[in-house]
């Protein structure tokens, strides 16, 4: 009930499945070429590519374009994972099920290394994939929760630029927050 209220167009999709599915298949047959910053070309179904707001607006500006779309800020490795996520998401567009979607999202996140997650964030950000960004933000927060400062530094690859005096002072001032963290 709630999901159909969120998306009123859905009702029509469900009541007229045959025509809708037919168009969907016709659409998904179309492929779009996307070129990453490290010069790899990904052939992606149009329905998946339209999940990337940045790519979508590229086609809105030039509807008849058949060129390869360059993605100068997107390296291939995180991009392939982003595509994997969007393919899953599309299934839920046709058949929304919040519980299943959550489950699928958490499985997606669970399999990823810390590095995978951190690398995907700027890609999701550049491509403006809001759902993925939300999932990644939460996943990153979950992984640094109750962890030591040293762990957070290595998680994000951040150099400690405090002097030892500054750091000692910080720890003294906030001594209460440095107790009982999970082991690294």
């Amino acid at each position: 009930m709630s999901s159909s209220a969120e998306n009123p167009t859905l009702t029509t999709e469900i009541t007229k499945p045959s025509t809708e599915i037919a168009t969907e298949t016709a659409q998904s047959a179309k492929k779009i070429n996307l070129k990453t910053s490290d010069d790899q070309i990904f052939e992606v179904e149009e329905s998946v590519a339209m999940e990337f707001a940045t790519v979508k607006s590229f086609f809105e500006d030039a509807p008849s374009s058949t060129d390869t779309v360059p993605l100068p800020n997107v390296p291939a490795k995180p991009f392939s994972q982003v595509i994997e996520f969007c393919k899953e998401q599309i299934k839920f567009k046709a058949n929304p099920d919040e519980t299943e979607k959550k489950k699928s999202n958490s499985e997606f996140v669970k399999e990823k290394t810390n590095e995978d997650l951190v690398e995907m964030i700027p890609v999701a950000n550049y491509l403006e994939i809001k759902d993925l960004l939300d999932v990644l933000n939460q996943a990153v927060a979950d992984r640094i929760q109750n962890r030591s400062v040293e762990y957070v530094r290595s998680f994000f690859g951040i150099d400690n630029d405090f002097t030892s005096e500054e750091e000692a002072l910080l720890r003294e001032e906030h001594a209460w927050a440095f107790e009982d963290v999970d082991e690294d």
């Binding site: 950000n125 990153v140 927060a141 957070v152 994000f156 209460w176 927050a177």
Partner: protein, 340 residues
């Protein structure tokens, strides 16, 4: 390993805020702010600890400014906001709100009543004083111990009991009330109320210390209530009845009022309805000695005083000294009353 860049440098402001906004625990934010200079700057400049604290406890939206021992109110409100003053303010808020939020969650759970202030009426003062409700149980030194209202023909006439809490700021979670059963009367009637409601707030003017004798008073002209609970039904039973607030309530200003709504028991001797209470307990987390509050007139705005950042504030006390201490205190007063 590949060198990764600091996301604060390559993500837009909104995304960085979102990631750190997903952290729900105050100590997580504090540790994140100790990762590097740029992270510390980001967390403090955006007031993330304050935001988290206000999200968890919206009651603190009434904080007018934060002071600490090294920074009095004059300095905190210094005009001509230079960048330096602004940054000092943000740093102070970062420290105070992080500790405050964690304190509201984890400071030890205690009895929060410090003393009785007033009752809306007392039938026989001082024998039936509100102060008796500080004592556990329904008798003390062999004598019945309870507060009794004056008698009324109309069962709808409410009564109120007002208490001073143990700290300027307390996070209250539940209140226990034991109605009094007049075991010395025929058929041992229980003078409970139909329902109870709780208000929390602060005095209109600073209160004297010590409080002196609790007198009959309508409290409404002396206090400003900033919180009022739903009504909870009360049973006509001689037991310590538990009223759990739907969620913890931050009482700022240290005053709690119990409204006793509706009368159920008529006294045979005079045909009047009374409400009597044997004992009251208020359970929660006092924020002292880490925090104090100074009310700024009737507006409800207040100065949050950060007094210590001692990590031992989170440790439970070795024994229940405070708890018993309250009762000894009540007992001494009762003796004084008895000698009057």
């Amino acid at each position: 390993m590949e060198i990764r860049m600091d996301f604060l440098n390559w993500l837009d402001h909104e995304t960085s805020m979102k990631i750190l906004g997903c952290l729900q625990d105050p100590p997580d934010l504090v540790r994140v702010s100790s990762v590097s200079c740029s992270w510390r700057h980001f967390v403090i400049a955006n007031g993330l600890c304050k935001q988290l604290c206000l999200r968890m406890f919206p009651h603190f939206r009434r904080v007018y400014c934060v002071i600490e021992p090294t920074c009095g109110i004059e300095k905190a409100l210094e005009v001509g906001h230079s960048k330096f003053v602004e940054w000092e303010t943000l740093k102070r808020e970062h420290k105070a709100y992080a500790f405050l939020a964690q304190g509201c969650l984890l400071f030890p759970f205690k009895e929060c009543i410090l003393d009785a202030i007033s009752a809306s009426s007392t039938d026989d003062y001082p024998v039936e004083s509100i102060r008796n409700t500080l004592l556990q149980g329904d008798r003390s030194e062999g004598r019945p111990s309870y507060w009794s209202s004056k008698g009324q023909h109309d069962i709808a006439v409410p009564e109120t009991l007002v208490y001073k809490l143990a700290a300027d700021i307390c996070v209250i979670t539940e209140i226990n009330i034991q109605p009094f059963q007049a075991y010395f009367q025929r058929d041992s009637p229980i003078y409970s109320a139909i329902s109870v409601r709780f208000c929390m707030g602060h005095p209109k003017c600073p209160m004297g210390d010590p409080l002196g004798e609790p007198l009959d008073d309508t409290a409404d002209d002396k206090f400003i209530w900033t919180y009022s609970s739903l009504e909870f039904p009360m049973a006509q039973e001689n037991s310590l009845q538990n009223f759990k607030l739907p969620e913890p309530v931050v009482c700022i200003g240290g005053i709690l009022q119990i409204e006793l709504l509706g009368r159920v028991q008529r006294q045979e001797a005079d045909g009047l309805f009374y409400i009597c209470v044997a004992h009251v307990q208020v359970k929660g987390r006092p924020m002292s000695p880490a925090f104090g509050a100074e009310m700024l007139g009737p507006s409800g705005k207040f100065v949050l005083k950060g007094l210590s950042w001692d990590p031992t504030s989170f440790l439970p006390e070795d024994d229940d000294d405070t708890y018993h201490g309250e009762h000894v205190h009540g007992g001494v007063d009762l003796e004084q009353i008895a000698n009057m």
